[in-house]
Subunit: 584 residues, 2 copies
């Protein structure tokens, strides 16, 4: 009995669904059901479109939207997140797996499944090892630059479908542009007509419909929002109907989806030899990282709106379980979708039940509606992808960053260019490394302020910014950075220079409010510095040393040589003592 | 006339020798002359020994001690530094160039010269571009681990000469150990006898002689110190005399230096095709960096003793010019020597003239004394190298670092192991990267303190360390780190957690004394955080924001949403306002 209850309580802590299922309130059912159905109408076209973007048959995208979504709904700590195929992950798959197998072939599908499987295992392992924190090492400018560049590549990769010209996939900008240039003369005009109509229809739903519906006062806001998100399913239905009615596929060469097998996916491991999993590891790592980042940012922003908490490590595990499931049920890598999760949230979802209802609707579609999509034109799906990813491109961010902090703007632009120039995985790596180097460069030349006393108060402020009192034989210096190897010598040079500039100087006070840490290199430099200025007749003092810093200094040679009486609690104490006439 | 004086004043600023030559005082001549001669007696055996360590004929070491030393004396900003062959640079040469040519062959010499040439150009370029600061990115623990490991490898590489067994050079520990194990059975006992005698003699000079001389009260201290540094030349003279007298070279197979060509080196470019310079670039980069680091640390520590200033960029240029000269006068890479510079300083050198006198003495030796070194045993030179480099191994440093800061100790040990495991150049790179990662890891989890007021003062201290007053509806939080991408999410989670823990909380005050910078990622997080806690009924305030941080925040959405009246000059102001009953 005890064992059973232990297992149960462990399961409860690991499976958030126990909580919301046990306390499910009937009043939530209507919202959950409505949201579930609306999300499904958005998910079905997106899942097929992203699968095609990834070089996979459309049903793979739908399979990835069945069990993986259900598994996430049970394990995820977010109640609104809708996982499934994603444009960024699809781009990663097509650019890396296309080198291993022919897109669309059974081996290609097996590689995509295997990537999901490995990425799932990695995500579960990282979550269990509580390594969610690792994702913090990608800064926002790098993520923004990466996303914009990837969205740009995705949009560009779809132009061939808009024009109706088949081209091999690539994530290298110059190859893409070269191929497009060769493709343009072969443009098929019936396809272009369908593309243009699809794009216009999607834009109308996105920008015109909300304004029209806003005037219709009696319409509930949630319904209005959901209607304006229904562009993709309308484009799919209308596009398919027109192509089927006028036989545009057979007569005018418009590319159509064709036969999609009906029926649910089977449980099966990817049909690959064990050794064939190995070359997928770098790709799976990129997928697990980028998928998680998409996931956690969407989950956090939605949870905050309801003042709910998202647990990074639980999210890692839940997304990992979803990917693992995708890998054994004929799917491919999934992550949380911003667009579908927002629709889920605004359409009134209250619990994970909404996602389970979405799964049921997608399941019905997979079982019975596949023949209806036979005449679905690829150009319509390409239009859906392009309109979806243009929202990911953020051109205001670089300008905002440039005003706020040039280094961040440089990191963004560098990542953007690197992704376009050398591909998505290497590009994001270059961005991450450059951010770190820019950060080190900044902290290696810290801000330092000579300060003086404000009137007779306890406040000491920068002599350049404020009217303050100073003493000619005392230099009060505030170093606005932790002392560590990249800046130790710089600070030493600054202090020595400041000391040689002031012939009457006898006391140098370092104000340590902003020093959070002193590493061994900096401690060595400080020890040397103290000796050097003492030999030049200048005494060193420290004030306002933080507790953790003081704890570390306690047993060091530096503090022994300095003397504990040279360390003051407040700058005021030091100032008042050193103002004494006998110390001038 | 104006042009001439402009050129003259530019030269004066670039050639420190103009200054000390124009104002040369006759009273300095005695010290300079004595120091110059004593350094030469140390330099001649070391130059030959290090050349052999580098896989070069002994005269190459002597050539590197002529013009390069003179060029440095004229251009260097340190007046005591003695440049010339160095053990670390010799190790770099032998391990990297041995892959390109047979050690000791004319092509090998040409590669060594070319390395000096390229390193010289790099150093001049880095000095001119004021990139001296780049060297700060190698932390002290990394340098210490590198130096100890390199010294260990050098000492081990000399054991073959002590035993009299020829072995190929390598900087891989396992190869070295394997070869030594095979070599031990072939030990030549006459060579071992010379080795043992040399080591004992050197140790006696280093440890016993100073104590004996200290009792001799009338002996000047400088002379006593110089005498105790004369071990190497005594070993060379005595060793050569014994080998020559008993014909140990021919009769007992003791390896001797043999014929050294007399005469000064000629100006000549390395005899290599232009394309053969290319593969030397990584090695030259390592040489220019490590050579400069040796140089600047010796120069700084000696300059400080006389309260003189060393200019990093001028040092880079001066050392670069010395290396360039070495590359075109039959030498190989040089840097400042700690041992010889200290001897120069304590023997009474006052200006660069001492080094010019050293050059004259070495020149005389190269012209006339070379036949005398014919019977010099290699074992004696190996003993000199081993005793010289054991001083570079620092085993107290890792223990001291472990007590002070574990991360620094880990960096040292990691660098030490990496240098032994994968070689010197890759090893130091691994060390440098690991230090940066350890630093990022530390700043990603900053110290944060909940603080309270000390009595009725303006001081606010950690509630865990001090007796302070707090208010139940106000949380005063001090973040002891700049806010940037690696820690933004961590801080957000901490603040949200702290807020949810306190149901009565209505005001959250962030004390920004230790925040030196807020990057774009952190600003985004702060903006989100403010919205989230406000939705939960908690207002955000900032206090003691630094000038440069406030300047940046000025035009941001964050400050606009927060309101300027929520930013207080002092924590006291905020505390007193929030203590008002109507705000509880």
């Amino acid at each position: 009995m005890k064992l059973l209850s232990t297992i149960l309580s462990w399961l409860k802590s690991r499976v958030p669904a126990f909580d919301w299922l046990a306390h499910y309130k009937r009043k939530h059912l209507r919202g959950d059901a409505l949201a579930g159905v609306i999300v499904a109408t958005l998910l079905i076209p997106q899942a097929m479109a992203y699968a095609l973007l990834a070089g996979l048959p459309p049903q793979v995208g739908l399979y990835a939207s069945l069990l993986p979504l259900a598994v996430y709904a049970l394990l995820g700590s977010s109640r609104f997140l809708s996982v499934g195929p994603s444009a960024l992950l699809s781009l990663l798959i097509v650019t890396q797996v296309a080198a291993l197998a022919e897109p669309g072939s059974p081996r290609y599908i097996a590689f995509a499944m295997a990537t999901a499987l490995i990425a799932g295992v990695m995500q579960i392992a990282m979550g269990a090892a509580r390594l969610g924190v690792l994702t913090n090492f990608l800064s926002q400018p790098v993520l923004s630059g990466f996303t914009s560049a990837a969205a740009f590549l995705i949009a560009l990769s779809q132009v061939k479908y808009l024009l109706g010209v088949p081209l091999p996939p690539t994530d290298h900008l110059h190859e893409l542009l070269g191929e497009l240039a060769r493709a343009v003369p072969q443009t098929r005009w019936p396809t272009v007509a369908i593309s243009a109509a699809s794009v216009l229809l999607l834009l109308a739903f996105q920008y015109v419909l909300p304004r029209v519906l806003a005037r219709w006062k009696t319409l509930p806001a949630a319904l209005a929002q959901s209607l304006s998100k229904s562009g993709p399913i309308v484009v799919v239905i209308v596009g398919t109907a027109i192509v089927a009615a006028f036989h545009l596929g057979a007569r005018n060469g418009v590319s159509i989806i064709g036969e999609i097998p009906s029926g649910l996916p089977r449980f099966a491991l990817p049909a690959l030899a064990a050794s064939e999993f190995l070359p997928l590891i770098p790709l799976a790592f990129a997928v697990s990282f980028i998928g998680f980042l998409e996931n956690i940012s969407v989950a956090k922003s939605l949870a905050a709106k309801r003042r709910q908490k998202v647990d990074s490590n639980q999210e890692f595990i839940a997304l990992g379980a979803a990917n693992l499931t995708a890998g054994v049920t004929g799917g491919y890598p999934v992550s949380g979708s911003f667009a579908r999760s927002t629709v889920n949230f605004t359409a009134g979802a209250k619990t994970g039940l909404a996602s389970l209802i979405t799964v049921a609707v997608v399941g019905v579609a997979v079982l019975f509606l596949m023949p209806l999509f036979h005449h679905l034109p690829q150009a319509a799906l390409a239009a859906i992808i392009i309109i979806a990813v243009t929202g990911l491109m953020d051109f205001r961010m670089p300008r905002r960053l440039w005003r706020y902090n040039k280094a961040d703007a440089v990191a963004l632009i560098l990542t953007f260019i690197a992704v376009l120039a050398v591909g998505v995985t290497k590009g994001i790596l270059i961005g991450a490394v450059s951010t770190i180097l820019l950060y080190l460069w900044r902290t290696s030349r810290p801000h330092m302020a000579v300060v003086g006393r404000v009137g007779n108060t306890a406040q000491f402020l920068n002599v350049r910014r404020h009217e303050v009192k100073t003493l000619p034989h005392v230099l009060l210096l505030r170093i606005d950075e932790s002392l560590y190897f990249t800046n130790a010598k710089y600070i030493e040079d600054f202090v020595l220079h400041a000391a040689t500039e002031r012939p009457r100087l006898r006391h140098l006070v370092l104000i340590c409010t902003a020093i959070n840490f002193i590493d061994a290199s900096a401690l060595e430099t400080l020890t040397d510095l103290r000796t050097r200025i003492q030999e030049a007749g200048v005494e060193l003092y420290l004030t306002e040393v933080k507790g953790p810093v003081m704890d570390r200094l306690a047993d060091t040679e530096f503090l022994e040589q300095l003397g504990r009486d040279r360390v003051f609690f407040t700058t005021q104490d030091a100032y008042e003592m050193l103002a004494a006439p006998n110390l001038q």
